[in-house]
Symmetry: C2
Subunit: 144 residues, 2 copies
DNA sequence: ATTAGTGCAAAGTATTTGCAAGAAA
DNA sequence: TTTCTTGCAAATACTTTGCACTAAT
């Protein structure tokens, strides 16, 4: 999904749900796509605060949930007690390597693993909708 | 790790850290091992409440963190905003299939996936300490 | 006009902590 | 005794919501 696709998806989601397109939503989506990282509500709110001090925390929160509903963002829980949202724009599905020392997050994708997951699910009668794979360890630098 | 191993591990962890073995910790560990599920602090607290109304929520919370520190429990985040702890006793490492409809949790293990994870980590210069794999979808019953 | 969205403050959850009293070493 | 633990209540942290006002359709 490209950035433009994300914007289009969002617009049509709003339209089909009878929701409204607002200035705030546009600004929040722009900043969210530009950041391109794994942002918590708070982090996105703080990034916006400089240029757009009028946008409230609650609006950022509600807008991120909206992004998740329409599939342009994925909620992540990395165990630090915060919900982060990751953009689904500009890339295929991927998983995460997380350094337990410096917190670095590296994305990867591996079709073989995906295929094995599918077969595991079938063995147990499940139909997978989504998955989450996180590898925690030490990155190259932090092994020194 | 067997139940007895878990208890032994816990005892030696306490000893080496200069911590104390207490009646509450024994009771909480027993109940935690007996439950054998993915318990939140609250759920474990409520289970204990009947037989041991004198044990406080904070003690359960602190004891579960202690279990995690010494490796006999694993914290899990399934996205419902609660931290759950899973016993590492009596079984090898495994991952989870989670039904998004009824909430059923099925455990599985797959050495091929584990091996592929390892090779992905090596490609990125990481040394894995632990991982988390969760497949979300609909179980057999909920697909009807 | 009508309906949905915003921003604020307040409420709701889950988690964590300070501290005086109690228990283990 | 000395140090750690407990249980309570209070504090935090994060998320969510009620409502009067504003903006989009």
């Amino acid at each position: 999904m490209t950035e433009q696709n994300a914007k289009d998806n969002f617009r049509s989601y709003l339209a089909t749900q009878g929701l409204k397109s607002t200035r705030q939503r546009d600004i929040i989506l722009d900043e969210f796509l530009r950041a391109g990282a794994h942002l918590s509500t708070e982090e996105l709110y703080l990034r916006l605060r400089g240029q757009h001090p009028h946008i409230g925390y609650a609006t950022v929160h509600r807008t991120l949930k909206l992004f998740a509903e329409c599939g342009i963002a994925e909620p992540c829980h990395f165990g630090d007690g915060q919900t982060r949202y990751e953009s689904s724009a500009g890339e295929e599905h991927h998983d995460h390597l997380i350094c337990t020392d410096c917190g670095a997050i590296v994305e990867f994708e591996n079709p073989q693993i995906e295929a094995l997951q599918e077969s595991v699910a079938i063995q147990h009668g499940f139909r997978i909708e989504r998955h989450r794979l996180e590898l925690y360890g030490r990155c190259r630098d932090c092994q020194k």
